[in-house]
């Protein structure tokens, strides 16, 4: 399903993942669609990065050594300046009920690994479509469907 390559033009995204390769895959896809991507390989670094650059949304792995995705989320939600930024969780092995747990904890939604480059961007945009800031995206996505 072809999606316009400039769909994320002007969007700032922070990706937090301890796995360098996984981080690179996500980054490459996001960059491919025009996003400005900043990355962190540790939870705490990621939180600081988010506080500095105020991205439009965050993609964060759940299982990381040291500070994990759940703790990252708590820190971001505790901070007034970052609490409204949507966080998409990444998880390697989805268990039944994980989605409910993640959403219950405050994640905007979640995507399971492996990331599928063919559908990743659509999956992501679908998850973000109900965020008010992303209203313009909605039109773009609908346009993409029509193509």
């Amino acid at each position: 399903m072809p999606v316009a390559r400039n769909i994320l033009n002007g969007w700032r995204v922070v990706v937090i993942d301890d796995e360098a390769d996984s981080l690179e895959v996500a980054t490459r896809i996001l960059v491919y669609y025009g996003a400005h991507v900043e990355t962190a390989q540790e939870g705490l670094t990621g939180v600081k990065l988010v506080q500095q650059s105020r991205p439009h949304f965050i993609v964060c792995d759940l299982s990381m050594p040291g500070m994990d995705g759940w703790q990252v989320l708590r820190l971001l939600k505790d901070d007034q300046s970052t609490m409204t930024i949507p966080v998409i969780a990444l998880t390697a092995h989805a268990m039944p009920g994980d989605r409910d747990r993640a959403v219950g904890a405050g994640f905007h939604n979640y995507l399971s690994k492996p990331l599928k480059p063919a559908t990743f961007i659509m999956d992501l945009l679908k998850l973000l479509i109900d965020v008010p800031d992303f209203e313009p995206l909605k039109h773009e996505i609908e346009k993409s469907y029509e193509v």
């Binding site: 390769d21 996984s22 895959v25 092995h93 989805a94 039944p96 009920g97 492996p114 480059p117 063919a118």
Partner: protein, 608 residues
Amino acid sequence: MPERFVVPTPVKLTEQLSRRVGVMSLIAVLALSLGLLSDSLTKLLATQANISNLGRSFVAQFDELLARTSGDLAATTEMIVQSTSVEYALRTALERNPPLISLKLVNLQGVVTADRRRMGKGETLIKIAQPWIDSIRKREQWISRVYTHFDTPTVDIVLPVINEEGGLYAALVAQIDLTAMWNGVVTIADLDERVGYVVDSEGRLLVYRDLSIVQAETNITDRVGMTPVQLSSPSLPNLTIGLEGGLVVAFAARFKSVPWYVVVEQPVLVAFRTFGFSSLLYLVGFLVTGIMLLRGRRFVNTALVKPLNQLREGVEEIRQGNLSARIEIVGVENNEIGTLASTLNAMAERIETRTQELVRANTAARESARLKSEFISTMSHELRTPLNAMLGFSGILMEGMGGQIDGEARHMISRIDANGKRLLALINDILDVAKIEAGRMEIAEVPTCLPLLVDSWVVQNEVLAHKKKLDFKLELDPKLPQNILIDKERLTQIAINLLSNAFKFTEEGQVVLCVNHLGEDQFMIQVKDTGIGIPPHALNFIFDEFRQLDGSTRRVYGGTGLGLSIVRNLTRMMGGTISVSSTLGVGSVFTVTLPLKPLSQSALTPNI
């Protein structure tokens, strides 16, 4: 755990034993009583013999006395006939017989012709109407009833006086004082409380130490309750009421000379006075029996019942699972019960040790299983991380995100991608099996829109159907409720697995997915294909782990052989069943039946 052995309520051993001891004691008491009875009878018989001897000796003495007096009086009548002096004859007769009070000669007209008496002057004329006259006329001796004469028991003997020619002309009337004669009878009272009295054959009291009773014309049959004849029966001791009350042994002896009886009675208690020693023995016997009964009961209690109960309680406690409990029995350590308790304790010790060993072994086994499953889980994660990266990069390359790639290179990248996906599927299957084996596969039921879920399965498989040019049909029962409660991810896993198998093994024809209402509270997912089918012998193990038809199948069709096993396990965990029917070369039908839990519209939150 169901009880295989039912423990019955124990019957009270004490009761059983004391019943037996009780019967034995009863027998002992009966024997003692029988002895006592026969002894008593012997005593009574002895008493009877004693008093009857006494009575008989009195009778003998009296008979002898009376015979002597009668004989002497008969001699006197002869003297009267022969001698010239009647006075002399009477006087000498009086001198010879001290009991005689008076002697009179009375002619047949009733006139006293001579009268000699020991004291005072005699009467000269008596009334003609003498009671003895008829007897005398028949020339028979007559004896009067006993009467009181100056406070003296007195009797008259009248003899006919017959002359030498044999003619009757007078009667000799002798008045005899019985005091002297029967002194022995009335004075026996001082000897062993025995009492003697004389009665006539009708039972009228003639002589007794208490004259007032005699004068009241007492009949002993009324008082004693037995006639003299009955009293004279020697066969059994006559137990009866005494003349002056009280329980007595009585005996009557008949006089030979007169139709009278001497009755001798003795109070029963006095008869038993000599019984003291043997009765003491009987008392001791009864006491010993009673004590033995009580002691026996106590012994049975302390030596048997209590230890057995303690034994039972101890064993019961161990049986109920308290393996560290031990049986404690105080006081019988050295006997059989104590030894049994020690043996049981040793057995309990062994059971406890063995159980602890088993528990340890079981814990170790569980720990080992847990570690294994943890290892598999960790390994799966570790395997998937690099694989995910590889798939990510291969996907990026395939999508042209890393620059344009064409021709041979693109083909090889697609092979890398396809094989990577296959490897990921294998790892996921192995992880699922490990989870199922470790019991860590969880079922999470969530509100689900069934038509939407089924539609997602169709969408996922349409590409495959299109690629293999197969007809793919969906039959969704319109009667099914829209919203149900189910673990949609596991249900998807089941459906996708069955569908991918169907597509895998079908080269031409069609694959049909049917979702139907089944009965009241079940629904059914059916996947039908027109594929190669399954040989009958394989239907038995098609759901077993690591079983594919043969090695060649695996090579041709790929897969781990875990898919159907996982499907069956998931179906079971969700409370359903799975079945298969197949004809070789025609096709297969897999049917999954699951419980249906419908939800009302309001309960649904958008979830798909």
